[in-house]
């Protein structure tokens, strides 16, 4: 399990200053949330795909996102008309379900909004390395300690993914049964109890991992301090430097302009 969504590359988005990308993603997120019109949502989706593709993000990453979101999209599209009975152009009307052109369109919009929101974030996540991400966050005012915490957390996710599997193996090697077979053999049928039994079987694993994690956090703390973290009266410097190139200013300007435009149109319609 890898904690980095970053797709190594050198496209134009990769080169863009993280702060600009933050703004881009934020603008898209907000607009998608406030403006429920299908031309707009479709437009945004198209734009996002164009941006990612012109940045040479491989199709498989984009497909990965769609695959993950597919279930929710389907769920929303199916559920929406059941709860939203509005609309005048009735297509079909059973007493429990009333399909109108309006609520079907809205169902589509709500369904498409999920990927629109998702890709708005992936614009940044796919194209910004962890170091730059944190650095950018600190640059826009996140306190360094928070940035360091976040970076360290991301760094240790794969480590603990490995430790958890190792601990799980060590316990299974002593006969611990995590698969629930044992419980089923003991004749537990009630699904809830069965699930609880399975969850409880994890306790030995998690306890061992927790203790290991705590010990590790102690010595990581010592390592950080003995590398001079929190040295009094020193202004921290940063290896990764952020500089707004003319291109960045350009992209920033375009982003602001488009956002403004969208807002205006939204107001008028």
């Amino acid at each position: 399990m890898d904690a980095d969504l970053y797709v190594p590359g050198d496209g134009w988005l990769h080169r863009t200053d993280p702060r600009v990308k933050f703004l881009m993603s934020l603008a898209l997120l907000v607009l998608c949330l406030v403006w429920r019109s299908w031309p707009f949502i479709l437009g945004v989706l198209a734009l996002e795909h164009i941006m990612l593709l012109t940045d040479h993000i491989p199709w498989k990453n984009i497909v990965w996102v769609w695959r993950i979101l597919a279930v929710i999209i389907a769920l929303i599209v199916v559920l929406w008309p059941i709860f939203d009975r509005s609309g005048t152009h009735v297509i079909a009307d059973w007493d429990w379900l009333r399909l109108t052109r309006e609520n079907l369109v809205m169902a589509a919009v709500m369904g498409l909004r999920i990927p629109a929101l998702g890709f708005a974030c992936f614009l940044t996540l796919f194209t910004t390395s962890q170091a730059k991400l944190i650095r950018g966050a600190v640059a826009v005012g996140m306190p360094y300690s928070a940035g360091l915490t976040l970076a360290t957390a991301l760094r240790y996710i794969p480590v603990f993914a490995r430790i958890v599997t190792q601990v799980r193996d060590a316990q299974r090697a002593r006969g611990l049964d995590l698969s629930g077979e044992g419980a089923r053999m003991r004749g537990i049928r009630n699904p809830f109890t069965l699930m609880l039994a399975r969850a409880r079987a994890w306790v030995p694993v998690i306890v061992a991992v927790l203790i290991r994690a705590y010990r590790m956090s102690r010595s990581v703390g010592w390592a950080m301090e003995s590398r001079g973290l929190g040295l009094p009266g020193v202004k921290r410097s940063y290896r990764v430097r952020l500089a707004m190139r003319p291109a960045d200013w350009g992209i920033l300007a375009v982003t602001v302009a488009l956002t403004a435009l969208a807002v205006v149109i939204m107001m008028l319609s």
Partner: protein
């Protein structure tokens, strides 16, 4: 652990929060329990409750919020991350604030409040993100996951508290021993080396600020 002077407080908190967060994320993403009703059930709630019990409302709140938020981010639901951070974080904060005794009544009270908050919060968030209708569908699932999570968290905490007390000393349920320990310690060491009391009492006040 809770007994730390202010200077070392932050530096030693960063890795604790970071690593426990990483662990929570892994537990949420890796440990999947198939359920009859709704696909998979993860252990995020167990970890949220546990970190609130073990590390108190504030540290526990950060861990409980950040862990699930990161797992949302990494598993393809970035738009959920912010809501998750706020909802799960506050859930842990509530638990941490309300549960002050290792007693069933107290724990049930805290957990129920936190539970109501969580289900409510996710309903709102769901409403904002995917509309109120679909959001309703989630309620049952969240409630169920919480119930299981709570039971596991309780089992976890009881086990860890017995197996490795230092881990839970920071939280409310572990405070009593920590507060008394520096004194014991100084006293004990005095008997072993009849050192003058002022050096012995020197330690406890560096231990000031035990409360976060």
């Amino acid at each position: 652990m809770a007994a730390q002077s202010k200077t070392t407080f932050k530096a030693s908190m960063i890795p604790l929060i970071a690593i426990m967060t990483a662990l929570t994320t892994v537990m949420t993403m890796l440990v999947k329990l198939p359920t009859p009703t709704r696909g998979y059930l993860n252990l995020s709630d167990a970890m949220i409750f546990f970190s609130a019990y073990a590390f108190g409302p504030w540290v526990g709140g950060v861990i409980g919020g950040l862990g699930p938020a990161l797992s949302d981010l990494l598993s393809g639901y970035p738009q959920w991350a912010v809501f998750t951070f706020i909802i799960d974080g506050l859930q842990a904060v509530f638990v941490g604030l309300i549960v002050r005794k290792f007693r069933p009544a107290n724990m049930i009270a805290g957990s129920v409040i936190a539970g109501v908050w969580k289900v409510f919060g996710y309903f709102i968030a769901g409403g904002i993100l995917s509309g109120w209708g679909p959001a309703l569908g989630e309620v049952a699932g969240n409630a169920g996951q919480m119930a299981v999570g709570l039971i596991i968290a309780y089992a976890l905490f009881a086990a860890v508290r017995k197996a490795y007390p230092p881990l839970v000393r920071m939280g409310n349920l572990g405070v009593q021993p920590t507060v008394t320990i520096p004194e014991d310690d100084a006293a004990a060491s005095n008997q072993q080396t009849g050192v003058s009391d002022e050096t012995a009492t020197a330690k406890p006040d560096t231990h000031a600020g035990a409360d976060h």
